[in-house]
Symmetry: C2
Subunit: 463 residues, 2 copies
């Protein structure tokens, strides 16, 4: 189909300014942050109402036009990348905050509202939205829901799935499906809302969401611990959880700390270098809890479970300690060419898994620097392999395919997932069979056929 045909179809629905064809727009909207695929959309549509989205999908179904739904394009797995002339459907103009309700503690927004805006609007009403991650300033709520975004406070607040109360979804047949509205209890047949969450734009296009909010976090206490070995992580976590509400439980290695301190004003808060670090935040609104936390840390130090500990002394200090962990991914992107994996295993498997991972990189691939860090309290680790400076990118990424095979053999042995929070998109599609059985993938295809019989929605993504 020629571009002029496409433009004619969509001009029936959208004013001219909402159909973008300039090369810069195609490049900008054509992909997410995954750099392993090139953007080749045919054009970019920027509808501003739910009905326009539905009408676009109806036209696309009728003429078998492939559509890539696109949010803040902060994804790592090329879920929002158009590689073969698809039409990009960007939700970027759908930014209305429709309601913040302090009575039922909900917010209703259009899909193009950023995660940060949701958090800010909640805060303006004395409320809190629990999903928090580095790219919150640009990521869209619609994309968060489509990929079930996680982040740094999942151990306390869960994934995006846990915050979605209701959705409005545009279906390929041009209908707007209203799922659940604002009901906290509604047991009337299949919960399609849950099916759309995490479906990466392959079943419908989320145009509006009602999210749960909650009371803001109470005063907390943050601590960075240095440790000899990741094997202590679970002992620390289990002891903490027995008596505290844990807000953050993160892990990184010396290499991560060195990366961040080398490229920022942040400094290593310890006198000595430690092989690995645990970043812990607990809820502690009362002096009694802060006291007990310090006592527990002291006992960890005395028994050698941890080697050193720094308790934050101010909110600025907390932010600095937090940034030592939070900036690792960003610094790897900025100062290196990383190959990223985002995997998860059952939490009890973490020590053995980290041990096997370290063995793999130290013994079999010593020439490739690796940065391992992540949300260890959720069983979720980010594994970054860095391109050696002397190596060609092509050869490096080729080599990473071999490394991944070894890595994912270890993941599979631990009953883990090939993608914890980054989704499958195009990037992880060849690996899906490691996390899901052929029978499950067949069921996914059949369910997609129900919602998207013409196969127009994000074709080729996930499976």
């Amino acid at each position: 189909m020629t571009d002029s045909h496409l433009i004619a179809y969509f001009s029936e629905i959208l004013p001219q300014g909402q159909i973008l064809t300039a090369a810069a727009d195609l490049e900008f909207y054509g992909k997410d942050v995954c750099k392993q695929f090139s953007a080749h959309p045919s054009l970019v549509l920027t509808p501003s109402t739910p009905q326009q989205v539905a009408d676009i999908l109806k036209i696309c179904s009728l003429h078998k036009i492939a559509v890539v739904p696109s949010g803040g394009r902060t994804g790592y797995s090329a879920g929002a990348t158009a590689t073969q002339g698809e039409v990009i459907l960007s939700l970027t103009k759908m930014t209305r905050v429709l309601e913040v309700n302090a009575i039922d503690q909900t917010i209703t927004v259009e899909a193009g509202v950023t995660t940060e805006t949701v958090r800010q609007k909640a805060a303006e009403h004395g409320l809190y939205y629990g999903v928090d991650f580095t790219s919150k300033g640009s990521s869209h709520i619609g994309g968060n829901i489509a990929t079930n975004a996680g982040g740094i406070r999942v151990i306390r607040y869960g994934n995006t799935r846990d915050w979605v109360l209701g959705l409005v979804v545009a279906l390929p047949n041009g209908e707007l499906l209203r799922c659940n509205g604002k009901l906290f209890k509604n047991q009337t047949g299949y919960d399609f809302k849950s099916l759309f969450i995490g479906s990466e734009g392959t079943l419908g296009v989320i145009v509006e969401a009602t999210l749960k909010l909650c009371r803001p976090p109470r005063e907390s206490r943050l601590c960075l611990c240095g440790a000899k070995d990741p094997s202590v992580a679970l002992e620390v976590l289990t002891s903490l959880r027995k008596q505290f509400t844990v807000n953050v439980f993160e892990y990184f290695e010396r290499s991560g700390l060195e990366l961040v301190t080398a490229h920022s004003s942040l400094v290593d808060p310890f006198k000595e270098a430690h092989p690995c670090y645990l970043l812990i935040e607990i809820e502690a609104p009362h002096a009694e809890e802060r006291q007990r936390f310090e006592e527990l840390l002291s006992s960890f130090l005395e028994t050698g479970v941890i080697s050193d500990a720094v308790l934050s002394e101010s909110s600025k200090h907390s932010q600095d300690l937090m940034s030592l962990r939070e900036l690792i991914g960003e610094m790897a992107n900025k100062h290196h060419v990383p190959h990223k994996n985002d995997i998860s295993v059952p939490v009890p498997e973490i020590p053995a898994f980290l041990h096997d991972l370290r063995e793999l990189f130290t013994k079999k691939y010593p020439q490739y620097p690796s940065i391992i860090f992540g949300h260890v309290g959720d069983g979720n680790l980010h594994v970054n392999v860095l391109k050696p400076e002397s190596m060609e990118a092509g050869a490096f990424f080729k080599q990473c395919e071999t490394i991944d095979q070894d890595l994912f053999t270890i993941v599979a042995a631990a009953q883990g997932s090939i993608s914890a929070e980054h989704g499958v998109g195009l990037l992880k599609k060849p690996l899906l069979h490691l996390s899901r059985t052929p029978e499950e993938i067949d069921l996914m295809r059949a369910v997609k056929q129900v919602f998207d019989p013409a196969g127009i929605l994000n074709p080729g993504k996930i499976f």
Copy 2:
């Protein structure tokens, strides 16, 4: 198909003692607590392993034998009732607790384990399972998941859906589908686990579940308030939530309190009769919180928001106050013939909704006593209409169909649900169109077709 043919098929899979045909067994296993349908199963199968369940389903698919999955039979909507010669597949022999893990705070059980057993096993490991309701001693976890059971602490701990980490589900094709295992983060394609939750045994048979557990509730403070009018409920709720973690926020009317005190040793704790009551529990582990709670209650009393308040003085006292609310449903069943509805509306709609409901019963149906109570903090109300003593049951239930039409018109106007936590089953099937659109019901049929192409699983339930 004759019963002897059926027995021959299943004798290949189950030993003789696990195929029940006695009239008493057919009657006992043939239905749940909904009394509006009679039990007519052809026989009862009681498999003891996941593989047996899968094998049974395969045989049923092959020979188009309708199967009704059955748990603790505590449901109110005839979701587990066999009315037309179906085979009952009871999970009653699948009662193994497979693992309690204090590291990742999970429990893995077979589907026939009771809710109470899960709660007890969790407690033995210093952990807590947040779903709590009156029938927990006999209800099965499998049934809880199949109906997304709610209960009395949803405002704090959510519905069953929020506690399910992984499932093993037997499919009609004889496969065992493992959904998610023990992963807290796993973004690899469609989340079928969420689709099975609440599907009332129409897509697959849940045979095993891994549930999340949490730290036990901290010390709490319980209070029963008397009020003039339900319109104050939201003001009280919103004020409470601003500064406390609310564990329980329940509503009942004078008629509910009179029903319970008339038929139990419990007494009205107030000197005066109040038109309605709010039962509140907040988390208050520190004296400071208890102090603030008392101050807030005092201010409600001073400003006339509430008319009176009783703070519990002991755990026995708490239980008594709680029982004034918890026993209402049971006493209605025991001492009357009730017609029950379990509806929900968005929380902000509660006052107007309760007003309209009261008007309906007072003005249009004054001859029918009604008991209205429920989880008002979740927008969920139980509406019991009681059969007048002088009336025939048949005529009463016939009349209730007319009352329901009026009731559900009010529910629909408030964007509410015809079934908040009791499910649809057979009982609410004729009303499903009031909560879900024809398009949604068509999608449900199509999704069922994917998982159950022979249509053997709980046919005729939900839609």
